[in-house]
Assembly symmetry: C2
Homo-oligomer: 106 residues x 2
DNA sequence: TTGACCGGTAGGAAACCTCCTACCTATTGT
DNA sequence: ACAATAGGTAGGAGGTTTCCTACCGGTCAA
């Protein structure tokens, strides 16, 4: 039994590529997604299951195929997590922090 | 030998918490970081190693301790990856896409 | 109804992750 | 010099991931 962990879902390059395909190509069946990978279809199904459990895709049956579609909302959690760091990598704060630390040393 | 995979480094909650501690508390030695976790120190050392290999922390020896500091730059990669999705979770584009897909079906 | 097709589940191998206990080196204070 | 402290490495147990090959049920077309 797995949890719905967005960060864990994004840790795998194949899953990130699946999300990109759904973003760029809109909803599509498994077979069309599978065309882009050098990987058997059942493995793709498992990756799609992980994405589904993380809430990053939704799936609806259409005839004998299943259309998968991107559901980007959970990515907000990642963006929220990231935002307090943004000031650091955009210079400024990191450098300020270093100065403060140096002062502490004395 | 591991690769420097930022996404994989962020997949673990302990490592995300380490980054937060370094962000909020500035550079600090391992022991001070370890105080926040119910986990043996060697395990923490391994998490710090993963973060270091991902470029997310830097380490410098000071006396018999080692000060770890946040290095946020690699997080830019995550932000860059995320940004094409932002329009989707902020409504609009997802809905537009759905309409286009419906039209395709006909 | 029978066959072809879509895609999921079962079960298993191999690699990898995450934790542990020991143990080691380096530095510091007495 | 010796003990105590900081923190890394080694090796291993147990769980999880990621892939595979079978196999199964549901849908469509002849």
């Amino acid at each position: 039994m797995s949890e719905p962990d967005v960060f864990a879902a994004l840790a795998n390059p194949t899953r990130r590529e699946l999300l990109r395909l759904l973003r760029d190509g809109g909803q599509q069946p498994v077979q069309r997604l599978a065309d882009h990978f050098d990987m058997r279809r059942p493995s793709l199904s498992e990756h799609l299951k992980v994405l589904k459990e993380a809430g990053l895709v939704v799936e609806r049956p259409v005839g004998r195929q299943r259309l998968y579609a991107l559901r980007a909302e959970p990515l907000q959690e990642v963006a929220d997590w990231l935002s307090p760091y943004e000031a650091y990598w955009r210079g400024r704060l990191g450098a300020l922090r270093d100065v403060l630390d140096e002062l502490d040393d004395e």
